[in-house]
Symmetry: C2
Subunit: 208 residues, 2 copies
């Protein structure tokens, strides 16, 4: 997906710009920024012009407004609240993934159908599904993670979308049906492993 590649580049530019800023730089050329992140200066300029980030060939880009704009595009200027549905092994690993605490992503609630998991301490409140709607509406949640068994995934997905969620990260190995304006990213471990098995067994065919 093209968006993932753009986000990856913008994230790299951002990290590099923070470094340059800390070194005392006030402006930067696309050539230097590109070199520091392994992209061509053309790619840097193309990415920046896509988001109307202004600079000029002679003076380069001013770092402060550039960082501000990239932060805006990446949503770094706000705390992004997300929820996780399904507190099996994958769901639990996800909410405990240490990276999230260092970003401005906040997992504000988890959900599970199993009453024995409710209110258990994992640094996060686990709610029954009956509270899904209220919490999504109350916090204006737009991003949700589905980590339920396959059989429950589509029903949960339908409810999330009905309550206003616009982007879903799906760990269940099923293809979710959603309206066109909703984005679903699938992290299908089954397919990942199968495609690696396919690779090691069909090395010569792989490049076809």
């Amino acid at each position: 997906m093209e968006a993932k590649a753009i986000v990856k580049r913008l994230t790299k530019y951002r990290a590099s710009l923070v470094n340059f800023k800390e070194l005392g730089f006030k402006t930067i050329y696309s050539t230097n920024l590109g070199e520091s992140v392994g992209e061509s200066p053309e790619q840097v300029r193309k990415d920046f012009s896509r988001f109307s980030l202004k600079g000029n060939k002679k003076a380069g880009y001013e770092i402060d407004p550039l960082l501000k704009s990239i932060n805006y595009v990446l949503g770094k200027n706000i705390i992004q609240k997300i929820i996780v549905v399904g507190m099996g092994n994958i769901g639990k690993a996800f909410i405990q993934y240490k990276w999230f605490s260092s970003q401005n992503v906040s997992i504000i609630a988890a959900f599970d159908i199993d009453p024995s998991k409710h209110n258990k301490k994992m640094g996060l409140h686990v709610h029954p599904l009956s509270q899904l709607k209220d919490i999504i509406h109350g916090h204006n949640i737009q991003i949700a993670v589905i980590a339920t068994p396959d059989s429950a995934a589509q029903e949960i997905c339908d409810r999330l979308v009905a309550y206003g969620v616009r982007a879903i990260l799906n760990f269940a190995p099923v293809v979710l049906k959603v309206p066109d304006e909703i984005i679903v990213h699938n992290l299908d471990l089954v397919n990942e492993i199968n495609s690696m098995i396919y690779y090691v067994n069909n090395h010569k065919l792989y490049s076809l």
Copy 2:
């Protein structure tokens, strides 16, 4: 990655062929098979011819040899042994992922640098890293999962490759450097979440 799409289609064909076989079918036409999995008959024939799976327009494909060939291509005819390095939350969730028990994938060993995790029961023996080489060689392991902290990932990767691993599923949010003939699939939760944040904040830009 093209291979993932091929494997996904072959997996769907396989499931459908098993169904047709259970219903008493001996042969199948690309039209019917395509319909049952949501692919065009042209796509079915193209996929099958890529792997020299024979059939003809009039008589269709014989199901038994077709299943046998697909199983071979997907590596379903052998037990695929894999190992997991890093027994943090992600590594633990991975080895406990219930899907693997229903496939012919066998996670034969886990590894962690932390001695307190060794030999702990999680249905699997957790070994110190000093045993990595012997276990990879002893079991002829070709597929490994990296679920270590970022800082350890490249070093582990180098060792895996040196010991003969050819395919790596990487959960650490770093870009691993490997020789050309080694395949790495990245499951970067950081980038997944960031690209969803980007989507909900830049809906109109997303389709650019």
